[in-house]
């Protein structure tokens, strides 16, 4: 653990102590840096903004009610994301939306080689492109179209930038499964985004493909 990380853990431990001693307002200070993380985790599972907000709120309230059980064995953020993940899964079970997930999952086997569908030669994509709503939407839609197994790992590793170990803790799967699912998720996403918007990610430039052997 770096010096900055241990400082931040110590700071969080102090806030947790204050909250547990009755300073409820300090709880918002504790949760605030992770709001986006909680929301992104929720929406990656329940897939719609209204349900995601409800799940995020329920997760935060649950974290408060369970705070005295937090032992600091993991980072507070990992613990909070794990609670969010469980709340989101519960929400899905209640709405039966996971019925469709399970069908989808069976169509995307994890074993076996992955063959790219397309060999589009992407130019570097400036991140400012995400400021364009249609591109942000295209990326969100592509993530939504992944089956739950792949989507969850992608969100935790590449969106939330959690470590492999943190991801294994939250999802309760092995390190090997995290790596395999992440690999597959990235390649599936690349396949679905490769053609870009209107055939090209950068407006005004022709879409070029490296085409088959």
């Amino acid at each position: 653990m770096s010096a900055i990380q241990s400082q931040s853990r110590a700071y969080e431990a102090q806030i947790i102590k204050r909250v547990c001693e009755g300073e409820r307002e300090a709880f918002y200070e504790l949760v605030r840096p992770y709001e986006r993380m909680v929301y992104a985790t929720a929406i990656s599972i329940v897939k719609n903004p209204a349900d995601a907000e409800e799940v995020a709120q329920e997760a935060v309230l649950k974290a408060f009610s369970k705070l005295s059980t937090f032992r600091g064995e993991s980072k507070f953020s990992t613990w909070l994301v794990q609670i969010t993940y469980n709340e989101a899964k519960m929400k899905l079970r209640k709405t039966h939306a996971n019925l469709y997930e399970s069908i989808d999952d069976s169509q995307q086997a994890e074993d076996g080689e992955f063959w790219p569908k397309d060999y589009a030669d992407w130019r570097p994509i400036p991140s400012e492109l995400l400021e364009e709503n249609e591109i942000r939407q295209a990326v969100q839609d592509a993530i939504s179209s992944l089956s739950a197994n792949y989507r969850e790992v992608l969100i935790l590793r590449d969106v939330q930038r959690l470590s492999i170990k943190e991801t294994t803790t939250i999802l309760g799967i092995s390190e090997g499964s995290v790596k395999t699912r992440l690999h597959r998720a990235r390649l599936l996403l690349r396949d679905s985004l490769a053609p870009g918007i209107d055939g090209c990610w950068i407006k005004g430039q022709p879409y070029r493909k490296v085409r088959p052997w």
Binding site: V19, C20, G22, R24, E25, F27, Y28, V31, R32, E35, R36, Y39, A40, I43, P49, E53, A56, Q57, V60, L61, F64, S65, K66, L67, S68, T69, E113, F114, W115, P116, Y119, A120, D121, W122, R123, P124, I125, S127, L129, L130, E131, R136, V139, Q140, I143, L154, D158, V159, R161, K179, L182, H183, R186, L187, L189, R190, L193, A194, V210, W213
Partner: protein, 85 residues
């Protein structure tokens, strides 16, 4: 499908680990030789790297307007003390 140092299929299998720098030095060198000569695998690598960049941008998921306030309001409704378990 060319076999340059290693096959394309082996390269695809390791592309994600390559981006995460989670492979041996020897394998990295072999993959880099392959990328130097195979436009298809370079295209797959660049695309995958772009995907990782796009989804990790930090602004991808925008929280709904007023999210923070509504969350804060919920927290204010909590009892003052954390329940003891």
């Amino acid at each position: 499908m060319p076999t340059i140092e290693i096959s394309c299929v082996e390269v695809w299998r390791e592309i994600s680990n390559y981006l995460d720098q989670d492979i041996s030095v020897q394998l990295r060198e072999r993959m880099e030789k392959h990328f130097g000569a195979c436009a298809h695998c370079t295209a797959v690598l660049d695309g995958t790297r772009n995907v990782v960049g796009l989804v990790g941008d930090g602004t991808l998921f925008q929280m709904p307007q007023g999210f923070n306030k509504r969350l804060y309001d919920k927290i204010r409704e909590l009892p003052p003390n954390v329940p003891r378990e």
